[in-house]
Amino acid sequence: MIRTMAFLYGCSPHEGSHAGGISRKRDLPYKELPARGDVRRWERWRHPCFRAMVSIQRRGRWSRGAPRPRPLLLPLLRESQVRQSQSRQSQVRQSQSRQSRIPQSRIRRRASGTQLMPAGQAGFLLPVAFGVSLLLLLGSLSLQTVVLQARLGLRLQEERGLQEDALAAAAQQLVAAINRDHPCLLSLPLERWSQEGLACASAGQQQALTRGVSAEARWQLVGWEPSAERVQAVIDLEPARTAVGRRGRFVAGLLGTPLRAQAPGLLALSGVRP
């Protein structure tokens, strides 16, 4: 049991060698540890780890003054923290030795020779593994972020294509209706439709002409700018599935007598926030 605890708590036989007892045996294997009942020989080691184990063996629990075993992540602590822990433990030992009337000079000498972790054996594997793992996970997460951004861009491109289709269908619907029923509106800007346009299209007809539904999205005519040979129509598409609407600027040729528009084509596409 004690050997298992010594293994688990990281109490190496080298650590106790400075404090007296079997000090000359630097490569003492675990099987040469003192027997279970030989408590006095354990106490001669004067090492915090072994003292802790002896305390557990005697009382079955941690006593207040007994030093704690070395924590698993102690190698991650700084050297100053280790020294602070050592000084705290030496103070506890001094107070215990006052009670047991042991000379202070001897205790100091033994306490100063005690090391929690020899410098050459400071655990480097766990921090290295931790750092490498962190780097690997961070790299894979950054790659995942790049992939998600690319996918989002592709989705936006698809959505833009669908909105472009809806706007093109709206422009076809608008130009066809004007060609068919209200050709006099072709040469009038949208601002003058409500006055001069009433001659060929009532307010209700104009209302129906400037609004519609295309591909499950509502659209609205916001600009109609005729010139000598062509007309530009600006159509806003309300957002159906996304937060951003689209504004399409279409151009159609004007020709013939009577005037008629032909084949509106998309000139520019931009986003519109409602």
Binding site: L125, S133, L136, L141, E158, G161, Q172, A261
Partner: protein
């Protein structure tokens, strides 16, 4: 350095290695799938642009006197003039009279759809009766449009002038 530390470090290292490898493989798979999807999307866009260019042929200019059925037929012929690109399925729904012509381009799970109204190509007339067709003028216009849509782009201008003259004739007849 105890055995417990070695074990913990090994578990941590190999766990993170396997997790990152899994993430990388999934990311690469998603990137490849997205690349194929982007290629299909670009193919659809190119096919759509080609269809739009064919519809901008001056020979397809209609007039209010031309029957919309003839314009619709000319539009269908113009759209079907060239075969669709590889991996793209082209579907044309002519619909009923008064309804727009619908062009659907499908590539796998991606779809683009455009609607074309014959009246938006310079205007046309609905409800041409058989008597009007027998009179000759709309039939001549339709024949001109059909000829224009079936002819090569170099001959488009002459076909357009033929359509315009036919429209003038139909006005005179009316």
């Amino acid at each position: 350095m105890t055995l417990l530390e070695v074990l913990l470090a090994g578990v941590l290292f190999f766990g993170s290695c396997s997790a990152s490898l899994l993430t990388w493989s999934r990311a690469v798979a998603v990137l490849e799938a997205d690349g194929r999807r982007a290629e299909r999307l670009e193919g659809l866009e190119a096919e759509l642009q080609a269809a739009e260019m064919r519809l901008r042929d001056p020979a397809l200019q209609a007039s209010p006197a031309v029957p919309c059925a003839a314009v619709r037929q000319a539009l269908v012929q113009a759209l079907e003039r060239e075969p669709a690109a590889a991996g793209v399925v082209r579907q044309i729904a002519t619909g009923e009279e008064g309804q727009p012509l619908r062009l659907q381009l499908v590539a796998s799970e991606l779809r683009r759809e455009r609607a074309y109204d014959p009246a938006a190509f310079g205007g046309c007339s609905y409800g041409s009766s058989p008597a009007d067709s027998a009179a000759g003028a709309p039939t001549a216009s339709a024949a001109a449009l059909s000829t224009a849509s079936a002819s090569a782009p170099s001959a488009a201008s002459s076909a357009s002038s033929t359509a315009a003259s036919s429209a003038t004739e139909s006005h005179a007849a009316l």
